[in-house]
Symmetry: C2
């Protein structure tokens, strides 16, 4: 059941001729299929350059050129097509963008099917030391649990998410706003080259496309749709990462936020989402796995404080300890009375508590050793 060539070529034409995140075209494709969608769009309409742009595409040549560069074009019907993208219903839009892309351009050996269990880890470009550290710890845990990490290949949190996953031997994929053959930002040249060679770089934009603001916004919906949930590590109040979280929310995926200091600029957007109840707090990779797993999988042991010496005391010792005053010493009689224990029992317990350095005998009676 392979995809008909005409359909694949029509999708190449749409991918090259239509800007990403165009819900109208996506809807048309859904209704009448890609071949007819191209045909009907080739009729010039006033105030629209669409027909001319589609006319200018040579899909066969595009596909050949891409293949020569080791880039494949994955479309609905291909075994590698990520089912999550079909959730990008045309009714779901954010800032004017929406719709299923006509196809995905992919460079790299990793099959997109591996993304079925993936998590998006995104955040500010202007990351803080705290954000970087949290991203690194989270991604190391995800990598060691075999969960692929998807991010946007940008500077800051994105870079660290990819990098930390790689260092921990995990799988990670960058979803770009430009063509998968382009390097943006230039500082991430080595990372992007490594991903394109060893794992995968993905874009709905055809090879050669430049990154523009709208393409970043359109791209964000793919990051949310390709993954089971989005972890927002750090984001200022107007960070683009919040847009990705918005997409995850619209698609009913888990939105997970790492809380941060209220006083940190780069945690304001994150804390605001938590305040609005739009995201779940995560403080560790294991909590991400618990949220995303099947019921009963990856259950997290509730965090507890360290065990204290107090926990190891006998019932009688504890009962006595409860009534030893913090400041002014008390007599054995009084402690026995309050503890509802015999004096002899109380004295024994006090002596054992003294040996364990919980209490001490001072002039005037027994009192707690400070800080127990």
């Amino acid at each position: 059941m392979s995809v008909p060539e005409a359909e694949r070529l029509a999708r190449v034409t749409l991918s090259c001729g239509v800007e990403p995140g165009d819900g109208t075209t996506s809807q048309l494709v859904r209704q009448i299929g890609p071949v007819k969608a191209v045909q009907s769009s080739l009729v010039p309409k006033p105030d629209s350059g669409l027909a001319a742009r589609l006319e200018a595409v040579d899909p066969v040549r595009q596909l050949e050129q891409a293949e020569r560069c080791g880039i494949r074009f994955v479309v609905p019907g291909d075994p590698e097509w990520p089912a999550g993208l079909d959730l990008l219903d045309d009714a779901i839009t954010l800032e004017g963008f929406g719709g299923t892309p006509p196809g995905l351009w992919v460079k790299g050996p990793m099959p997109l099917t591996a993304l079925a269990s993936s998590v998006a880890v995104v955040g500010s470009r202007a990351a803080s030391v705290y954000g970087i550290e949290m991203t690194r710890t989270l991604c190391e845990h995800l990598a060691s649990s075999g969960v692929p990490v998807v991010s946007g290949g940008a500077l800051g949190i994105d870079f660290v998410a990819h990098d930390a996953t790689l260092v921990a031997g995990g799988a990670t994929v960058a979803v770009l706003a430009c063509g998968v053959d382009r390097v943006y930002p230039a500082q991430n040249r080595r990372l992007l080259h490594h991903l394109a060679t060893e794992l995968a770089v993905v874009s709905e934009q055809p090879p050669g496309s430049a990154p523009t603001r709208p393409r970043f916004l359109a791209r964000n919906r793919l990051i949310a749709a390709l993954t089971r949930g989005t972890v927002l590590v750090e984001a200022a109040l107007r960070s683009g990462a919040l847009n990705t979280a918005g997409w995850a929310e619209l698609l009913s995926r888990h939105v997970m936020c790492v809380p941060g200091p209220v006083t940190s600029y780069t945690s304001q957007g994150v804390n605001n989402w938590l305040r609005q109840g739009r995201a779940t707090v995560v403080t560790h990779g294991s909590e991400v796995l618990e949220l995303l797993g099947q019921a009963g999988q990856h259950l997290v042991v509730e965090p507890r404080g360290e065990e204290r010496a107090r926990d190891a005391l006998s019932r009688v010792e504890r009962q006595v300890l409860e009534w030893v005053p913090v400041s002014t010493p008390a007599q054995v009689d009084s402690i026995a009375h309050l503890s509802s224990l015999h004096v002899r029992e109380t004295v024994g317990a006090l002596r054992r508590l003294e040996a364990k350095r919980f209490v001490r005998l001072e002039e005037g009676g027994w009192r707690l050793v400070p800080d127990t």
Copy 2:
């Protein structure tokens, strides 16, 4: 409709003879009144020192002594009795403690009626600089809004909550686990003395009582019950402040948490409560007021990022700007095409954007100025 003297004296006896947070006695008082509760408890029972302890109390003398020290005993039926304490139903228990106290010992001129609009601000004794700063800012806002701050008079967050409220000219009350005439911890001598002289210090324990662990746990329910909500600024996983939050939760009061760094020991308990969905994120005093206010009162303006120069652009300028590439420059024709605008219009917009330093003309065309 003043409280009968016999009833008040019976409550003094119960307050002096029964350890705080004893739900059984509280239930008895609710069912048969304080006078009969004392009478029925005076019958000695095996394994219980209660009868002997009650027998030993001289309530008239206790009351006289307290009054000589400027301490009053407020009981249900007094105009000053805080209605919130009646919510401490005997069915509500936490770690074995519960029940309405027989009365409150109060030192200081501030009437407890002023607590009707109060907020509890609590947290770790081992506070971090971050926690201290957040407590200070929150309490300054509450003070300047006329909202009294209740806390436990302890070191750390409690101290800062009282202190910052006082510095900002606000009202604040300490609820203690020992008698209101005692100074615990000793380091807070000046603070506690100031509160007892100018505002109020409150305890269910009679004057002279020492602070013990159970009394701290019992005390926490009063902090929660006396206030409209509890703000937890910082708390480690086993902090006593979480016990106060637990009481606020049981009493269906608002529990508000200030999120903190996951890497900070003193924010672990707070972040854990947020993760469990048991508390609302607050990042500013205004958000506390909004949560506690009547519907429509104290509405918070949603935090927004700073206005950016981009926000002031015209529609056409924005439309053009959207299509100016980040990296590789683009020709005017291409930008006009993508923007669906005439070339002349596009050039005009590009020139204005250039003057505003959004874009620049390079060899090869227009591109964005980095970081816009």
